[in-house]
């Protein structure tokens, strides 16, 4: 298990393989392709303006942060950890602000909020909190905690992929979400009662 975690984390640390850089570029390109697909769908009247705005805003937000991340990676390879701290704070801030902006903007464009919208907000808020947890670990603990790194990395990657799927196929994701919401209705009701 320990070897698996180390092997997985070595992919995302600064090393000679540059897997992390390739991954970033591939993800940004996928988001851009998803945005173009949504534009074509909107032109053919297969989707609404709210979904286009959602995909456009998040693509813009992700592309800007990924660009800064790549720049940091390319220029400051030796001082990666020191320089990345401020960048991560900025990511967290960007994610929270994008979520807030979408929450204020989307109700003016559509009456019913889609599953893709809820998934995007969940991903933005969750990623923002994960960045903060990672930074708390960096600031306050003297040793590197690989468990938190692994949790952070897997959850952020899974969330990002989930969001990409929700952008490309919002209707199918809506079906899956409504199926799961029907199946776990009692748990959701209990959670709602807790949060209310």
């Amino acid at each position: 298990m320990n070897e698996l975690i180390n092997g997985y984390l070595s992919l995302f640390y600064v090393s000679d393989s540059d897997f992390f850089l390739d991954y970033l570029i591939a993800y940004s390109s996928s988001l851009l392709i998803a945005f173009f697909i949504t534009c074509i769908k909107f032109a053919l009247k297969k989707t609404n303006l709210a979904h286009l705005t959602l995909v456009g805003t998040i693509t813009l937000s992700y592309l800007s942060t990924d660009y800064i991340m790549t720049l940091e990676y390319m220029t400051k390879k030796s001082e990666w950890l020191e320089s990345i701290m401020n960048t991560y704070f900025m990511f967290s801030l960007f994610d929270s602000l994008t979520a807030g902006l979408l929450l204020f903007l989307t109700p003016f464009l559509t009456k019913k909020l889609s599953s893709a919208f809820y998934i995007s907000i969940y991903v933005l808020l969750c990623n923002s909190l994960l960045h903060l947890i990672l930074m708390t670990d960096y600031i306050f603990s003297p040793n590197v905690n690989k468990g938190i790194h692994f949790l952070y990395s897997t959850m952020v990657n899974a969330n990002d992929l989930l969001m990409l799927v929700a952008f490309i196929a919002p209707v199918w994701v809506g079906y899956v979400v409504s199926f799961l919401a029907g199946r776990y209705r009692n748990t959701i009701a209990r959670l709602k009662a807790m949060l209310a």
């Binding site: 704070f89 929270s96 929450l103 204020f104 930074m135 600031i139």
Partner: protein, 113 residues
């Protein structure tokens, strides 16, 4: 790597995250506000058109304006989630009498057994 600047940054980012999360929890209020703003704007437009309608003589122009007003009413109904013709009576519910078994069904079952 504990420094006061980093700690302050962390607190600030967490504060912004907490605000975003609160906005998410209060999303229904934002939706209601958005609906109210939209309906208010359409109603203002409607009242303006009503004033214009009263000044116009009978004719095509007046009819076109009336149709526009009707369109605005439909838009309000669509936003608020009301049916377009709210003055129509709803259809009575078709209640099935479950106590009575149809005769042909009974016969078929009898033959089967």
């Amino acid at each position: 790597m504990n420094s006061p600047v980093l700690t302050l940054q962390l607190i600030f980012c967490f504060f912004v995250w907490a605000i975003a999360f609160t906005v998410f929890l209060k999303r229904h209020s934002i939706i209601r506000l958005a609906v109210a703003v939209k309906v208010r704007n359409i109603y203002l437009n409607y009242i303006e058109k009503e004033h214009q309608l009263k000044k116009l003589p009978m004719g095509d122009e007046r009819e076109a304006l009336f149709l526009e007003m009707k369109g605005l009413k439909d838009r309000i109904a669509e936003i608020e989630g009301m049916p377009t013709h709210s003055n129509l009576r709803p259809f009575p519910e078709h209640k099935l009498n479950t106590n009575v078994i149809p005769l042909h069904f009974r016969k078929k079952n009898k033959n089967a057994s």
